[in-house]
Symmetry: C2
Subunit: 114 residues, 2 copies
């Protein structure tokens, strides 16, 4: 269950990305703004189910939508995608630099492993 | 609710990262392998609650653990972190290249915006 009052936006972003339909929608939107009915067309589910997924994505900040006349169009919000990427990347870099230091140490002290 | 039989590992990885305590644990483990009791110490929750978070992380493949004597030690599994980063990065790059093409087009066709 998502908590829309969550103080840490990454909670909502990662929860939104944890669903394959929502990742498919994000994937489609990175190729350009798309109407809700176009987004729903290839998905094997009802329009209300698609709208519910879009609401989760919009609450997380990953996408935004606007209605012109009777057509609602969605587009990606790349800054939020960047934030999620940055969090993972920073963690991975810390781990990687630790591993590099360990490898340097073992190369300089070959006797350690004997 | 996590489904541990989920065929797409990214579902479990992003769901695991959607919780601030689990992100704190991942953050700690990128700095080196740590025992469960050391991981639990700075967290304001019971040991069983921490163990439950560790089980979610381990099921997602983000961490692995081993027990030596009475001490269970956890460490990061960087390949899974890399997969999640790659998914986001690829989406962001597709979006970015689309934006770059649009900017080039507008620069070459300045009358379009008038």
């Amino acid at each position: 269950m998502l908590n829309y009052l969550d103080p840490d936006p990454l909670n909502l972003v990662f929860a939104a990305l944890a669903d394959p339909t929502r990742r498919t929608i994000v994937e489609r939107l990175t190729r350009g703004a798309t109407s809700v009915s176009e987004l729903a067309q290839p998905l094997s589910m009802s329009l209300p189910a698609v709208v519910q997924h879009l609401q989760v994505l919009e609450s997380s900040g990953l996408i935004r939508s606007k209605k012109v006349g009777r057509v609602r169009t969605c587009e990606i919000e790349p800054t939020v995608l960047k934030e999620a990427e940055r969090w993972i990347n920073e963690r991975r870099m810390i781990w990687q630099s630790r591993l590099d230091r360990l490898e340097t140490y073992l190369a300089e002290n070959p006797d350690t492993t004997k």
